[in-house]
Amino acid sequence: MCGIVGLYLKKKKLHSQLGSYLSAMLDNMSSRGPDSAGFAIYNNKEKKRYKYSLCLSKKVNLNNFEEDIKKNFKNLDIKTISDHTILYTSAKPQKFIPFIKKNYENILLIGYGKSIEIFKQVGSPKDIVKKFNLDQFSGSHGIGHTRMATESAITIDGSHPYSTGEDECLVHNGSLSNHNNLRRELIKKGQEFHSLNDTEVAAGYISNKLSKNKSMKNTLTDCLSNLDGFYTFIVGTNNGFAILRDEIACKPAVIAENANYVAVASEFQAMAHLPNVNKAKIYEPEPGVVYTWGK
């Protein structure tokens, strides 16, 4: 099953509400995915530095890690919530990512970019939203996922959102059937994968296309001919998000749009709390059609 949600705020004055709106959306989608949950928040405050979203296993001593990392990188800020740490540094991904991979086997890099912050955990979405204080977050847009595991194990590795490129992430409701073959092809092209999950492959596929300067619209249109299976995708980028449903369209999605926001969710009830939603334009994304919002 799985539940997916996304919220794009059109007005800056609403940005401080992003977390509280999104946390209620995720909470509501617990019924579609009680196994794990995650979310990505886009907040454009950083101009020069990168943000690295890290998930630390219990084996890591946070204080030691902080000291260690401060020795190696300057102009550094660290924000820790629950078992997640966001590192703000001007160090470029080409330098920082290999450093983390080489030195910390118990730290998982789950996303990076100038805007994105990712949090995900195993357990009930209600608890996860609370642990990470999602309702305190501000930002321009965010996407989230509640997982009912089918393809791979219930682990952080198997939790959405999947980020396979700078400021990119993907949440997925459905299942792919050609992901093993596609994973092998993408590995040959240099894409890295950390799990056996089907969605990570779709995320890698999308990142690979986007990195070749393909537009979001063309990239997602290519998904229709190269990804087999069922899917409703929400793809987040620095600028906004995009939605795609496969042509069979058995995985649901509903969009509510007004002058203040664009909300998307697996079910309307996830957005029933949003202000004036009953008067918003409410519609279902058509099968096989790419929808994008953003700057």
Binding site: A249, E267, Q269, M271, I282, Y283
Partner: protein, 231 residues
């Protein structure tokens, strides 16, 4: 419960509201009820059994009015997947749009959608009449067995795929026809049926002669090796 003002999802649970509506005493004089703040909850008004009128103010989730018998349900909003699934009799009127599988497997009664119905509208319907004032999505009328699907707008791909004896009337055009679905000649009897449905749907802009008729070619009823690729 028991008081009409409590049919409000801000004040009561789905189970309590449904249970109240499912157990209206036949001798009760009160026959009209209003449900408030439905917030897209699932299975609202499922399993109603009496000739009552329920107005729902707002959008509903999945399977609203499922298994309905006799009741008239009016939804002032949109409806999610499987509206009126397995309905036996009565009427459901949606003033907005409906999601996929509207009227799935419904045996009787009437469903009226003022807006559009998305994919698989009337899938496996078994006798219900479905009136859609807008358009329907792909695979509508899939394996539909009996009853009538009337569409004032257009239909998506593969209309009436593997259809049995449901009759489809459509004023616009289907994007494509499904396997074993063909256009048929409109008869005087069809005109009467369409006029009756237009009246039920309170549709004045269209006349019976505006509609085309689609139904089963009946070539898939028995296995035929030449059709193997169509099954």
């Amino acid at each position: 419960m028991g008081k009409i003002e409590n049919l409000d999802f801000k004040k009561n649970s789905l189970r309590k509201i449904n249970s109240f509506l499912q157990n209206i005493s036949y001798k009760n004089n009160k026959r009209e009820f209003t449900v408030k703040n439905p917030r897209g909850e699932h299975a609202i008004c499922a399993g109603l059994k009496e000739n009552i009128l329920v107005k729902i103010n707002g959008h509903v989730g999945y399977y609203c009015g499922g298994m309905n018998q006799k009741a008239k349900i009016v939804i002032d909003g949109n409806a999610g997947t499987g509206l009126g699934e397995n309905m036996m009799s009565g009427t459901i009127h949606v003033k907005g749009n409906t999601s996929q599988s509207t009227g799935a497997t419904a045996h009787g009664g009437t469903i009226i959608v003022d807006g559009n119905a998305s994919s698989r509208c009337g899938i496996s319907m078994k006798g219900v009449d479905i009136i859609v004032k807008g358009s329907v999505g792909h695979m509508s009328g899939f394996m539909a067995q009996a009853g009538t699907l009337l569409v004032c707008g257009n239909a998506g791909e593969a209309l009436g795929d593997s259809i049995y004896e449901t009759v489809i009337y459509i004023a616009g055009n289907p994007k494509s026809l499904g396997v074993d679905c063909i256009e048929k000649k409109i008869t005087k009897n069809d005109i009467k049926k369409i006029e009756n449905l237009l009246k039920q749907g309170n549709i004045n802009k269209l006349k019976a002669i505006n509609f085309k008729k689609f139904g089963s070619a009946r070539k898939l009823y028995n296995f035929n090796i030449d059709n193997a690729s169509d099954y």
